[in-house]
């Protein structure tokens, strides 16, 4: 029965000039920020995903490189590939070839004085390393269609199971792994044809020396993962592995192989699971990130999504900071103002109770705020889709939207309550004060309280910042405008 008045109140709340102007400003701001992000995407070189196998045969002094190159969307990259090998600062190989997502290079490494010098002759040192646990690094630039990335083949002292009979070295880079507390992950292994399964070990090394959990449960600088310790559900069949979500990242010939990756800061805890399946001569390598608790591994494309998500979070953060003013104003025009003028009396003479009038208008205000949020949200989502070609998953979108609307509705409810007990100018004064407190003063007050209490408790200075952040987070339970911060927690946990 009261649907018509609700719709009417919604209409006059939504189509109010002030509401429309503020909403338009936010939508325009969202479009502008998305455009800036697009500009950033277009002008910043992002690393190409690559699957590469590099073999260097010390006896022949030849380099073998076999590589698939993908773009962020995991499509094969076509174009000119520029390839430079730098050994300890010296350019060893430089060439250009046209590729169609795949390239195979077999080239002779020119011997010159710099390479054979004791300081940086990677290839000769590499030969030695097979016997003497020598660490080595071969850097090379990879440039496709103008985008250049610095790649490396790295050997470390941790690769200890050196077989003298091995006559080639293979390097392997997996898809990028992102992890909060790791800066570099190196995966290495040795293949011996005589006993492919028993002899096969995978090494996971966390260069940043922070803990990295592994299947074997060890977290030293280098951890050995035996094939035998793989979970029961992992069969060695390639087909089964693919079904399990493993990604085939390449095939290496017999020998040592390793993989280097530069993780980014997005993860809490994760580890890699590498399965190696051996055929007669070649090895298929599959890699699958295993998620522990809430974490997961991002690919390059996920980085882009993460940036879009971060942009949306900051956009929504701005929206939830300033759009509550509309809620404050709606409570004023729906209740506080007509109440102070006595205009609700005429309404109350209709077949309606006082409670129903309050509920009708509260509902209309809520619908207005949800509709405005939805318009802003849809425009932002469409613009990120159209301009950045990035679609966020439905869960993230739902959580963002819920965070946004819950925050707005919480503050509106508070204002609405105030409008029912105080009217007119007094309501405006009080609600604006509360808005300013929740938006700008709250965090300062919590910080002051935190510092004071933590100092009194003699908490170590290094922990004070962490404790302050924790206290801020707890305080959001009591701050309607800051309620939206909970979705940030959720979305970041899921990145």
């Amino acid at each position: 029965m009261i649907l018509t008045p609700v719709l009417h109140d919604f209409k006059r709340g939504m189509l109010r000039l002030s509401t429309l102007i503020i909403l338009a400003l936010f939508i325009a701001g969202g479009l502008g920020l998305t455009y800036l992000l697009r500009y950033q995407f277009l002008t910043t070189a992002t690393p190409l995903n690559r699957v590469q196998i590099v073999s260097i045969d010390p006896s022949e002094e030849k380099l073998y490189l076999e590589m698939y190159v993908f773009d962020e969307q995991l499509n094969k990259v076509k174009g000119d590939l520029r390839f430079t090998i730098i050994c300890n600062g010296e350019t060893v190989v430089e060439m250009m070839k046209s590729i169609d997502g795949y390239i195979k290079i077999v080239d002779r490494i020119p011997r010159d004085t710099s390479i054979t010098s004791s300081r940086c002759s990677a290839l000769t040192q590499l030969t030695a390393s097979m016997s003497y646990l020598y660490s080595y690094t071969v850097l090379y630039n990879l440039s496709v269609n103008g985008k250049t990335i610095l790649c490396s083949i790295e050997g470390a002292s941790t690769i200890s199971l050196i077989n003298r009979s091995t006559n080639s070295l293979a390097g392997l880079a997996t898809l990028k792994i992102f992890r909060r507390d790791a800066e570099l992950i190196v995966i290495g292994g040795i293949y011996t044809p005589a006993n492919p399964y028993a002899e096969f070990d995978i090494y996971v090394k966390n260069i940043s020396a922070t803990s990295l959990q592994t299947l074997a449960g060890r977290s030293s600088g280098s951890t050995s993962l035996g094939v035998g310790s793989l979970p029961q559900y992992v069969s060695i069949s390639a087909k089964d592995l693919e079904k399990l979500g493993f990604i085939r990242i390449g095939r290496v010939k017999q020998g040592i192989f390793n993989s280097t990756s530069e993780p980014n800061i997005y993860m809490n805890t994760s580890y890699l699971q590498i399965v190696i399946v051996s055929s007669t001569q070649d090895i298929d390598i599959y890699s699958k990130p295993i998620v522990i608790s809430v974490s997961k591994v991002l690919k390059e494309v996920d980085v882009r999504i993460a940036r879009v998500l971060n942009t949306m979070i900051s956009l929504i953060g701005t929206f939830t900071t300033f759009f509550p003013i509309v809620g404050l104003y709606l409570a004023y025009i729906y209740i506080a103002k007509p109440r102070s003028q006595g205009a609700l009396e005429f309404l109350l003479a209709r077949p309606v109770t006082r409670f129903e009038i309050y509920m009708t208008r509260a509902l209309a205000g809520m619908i207005t705020l949800v509709a405005a949020s939805a318009l802003f949200f849809i425009s932002t989502t469409i613009s990120t889709n159209a301009m950045l070609q990035v679609s966020l998953d439905i869960n993230s979108l739902a959580v963002l939207f819920l965070g946004l609307t819950i925050s707005l509705l919480a503050f509106y409810s508070l204002c609405y309550f105030l409008s029912t007990v105080i009217s007119g100018g007094k309501y405006l004064a009080l609600s604006i004060t509360i808005y300013l407190i929740f938006t700008f003063i709250w965090q300062i007050v919590i910080a002051i309280i935190s510092i004071t209490t933590l100092r009194l408790q003699q908490v170590e200075p290094v922990k004070i910042v962490e404790e302050m952040a924790r206290n801020q987070y707890r305080s959001y339970y009591f701050n309607p405008i800051q309620l939206s911060n909970f979705y940030q927690f959720y979305t970041q946990e899921n990145m």
């Binding site: 018509t4 009417h8 007509p338 205009a343 009396e345 109350l348 077949p351």
Partner: protein, 304 residues
């Protein structure tokens, strides 16, 4: 039918209504007359359900305003003295909005709005903002809204205040029309003559108390010219003598008032004197309606 049943209301220390009871029957226009601040508007606000009484209740066609407010509101229309609306609305939009509370769809409400607003003379102001309405237009708008449900009962609160002669005539004719249609109308005013000609009865209120309920004929009768005579004695003979010349009414042991005198004062006095009745004082009394009202107020004041 509107029944005001023992209604009391207090605003802090001020008693606004003290055990007020009266009724307005169907096919009846009842004037509700009192000085400013007597409690007329408070009574009407309670009757319409916008103000809760401290004590008592109001029944609209049997439905309690306190316990069954929604149903009671379906059967009553209200034109307030100073209608206050949400002024940013346009007339027809606000009509449609209010009609929504009667369960009308937007389409139905628009159609009805055009018809009723036209009927009350606001056909040209459908899309005008309520803020631009004059006092008379606001009252006409309130009337149109009150007629959404075509209720059998109406409350007109000081409705003629601030209206032009055309507006006054409109509302007076409307009250009469409503009576003809069998509706109950309570017509409040602080001027008794405003309800003259339309009211069947008048309820007088002063300082929150009902000080009298009279039919219009009674009021006219009491307000008509009369001769007040102070006599040495009053008995049946005296009464019979005076009855020949008018309608005597004994005020106390020595005072009698002769209403509607049919002869000159001298003729009446000479007969009384010739019959040996001592005449101490003779006074010609002429009351207007307002004087009658003020005499009631004075009596009420003296009786306090």
């Amino acid at each position: 039918m509107i029944v005001i049943d023992s209604v009391s209301k207090r605003f802090r220390k001020t008693v606004a209504l003290d055990n007020v009871s009266f009724e307005v029957r169907n096919s009846e226009v009842v004037g509700y007359v009192g000085l400013n601040g007597a409690g007329k508007t408070t009574t009407i606000r309670i009757a319409v359900g916008v103000l809760p009484p401290d004590k008592g209740d109001v029944y609209i066609d049997g439905y309690s305003v306190l316990r069954d407010k929604k149903r009671a509101s379906m059967f009553i229309g209200w034109v307030p003295e100073l209608p206050i609306y949400e002024m940013d609305f346009r007339a027809l939009d606000y009509f449609v909005y209010l009609a929504g509370y009667y369960g009308l769809s937007v389409g139905e409400a628009r159609e009805l709005g055009r018809k009723l607003l036209d009927e009350v003379g606001l056909g040209d102001a459908l899309n005008k903002k309520l803020a631009e309405f004059s006092q008379g237009m606001k009252k006409r708008f309130a009337l149109a809204v009150s007629m959404i449900n075509n209720p059998p009962n109406f409350l007109f609160d000081e409705v003629l205040n601030g209206l032009d002669p055309q507006g006054i005539a409109f509302f007076r004719e409307l009250a009469v029309k409503f009576r003809r249609e069998g509706r109950a109308v309570l017509f409040s005013s602080h001027i008794l003559s405003e309800v003259e000609g339309i009211g069947d009865r008048v309820v007088f209120i002063h300082r929150g108390k009902i000080i009298g309920v009279y039919t219009m004929d009674e009021i006219r009768y009491r307000a008509s010219p009369a001769i007040e005579i102070n006599l040495s004695k009053i008995d049946r003979d005296v009464f019979n003598i005076l009855s020949k010349y008018g309608e005597p009414e004994v005020l106390n042991n020595n005072k009698v008032i002769l209403r509607k005198p049919r002869s000159d004062t001298e003729v009446i006095l000479s007969e009384l004197v010739s019959r040996g009745i001592g005449v101490r004082e003779v006074k010609r009394v002429e009351k207007s309606l307002e004087e009658f009202f003020f005499s009631l107020v004075k009596e009420a004041e003296e009786g306090r």
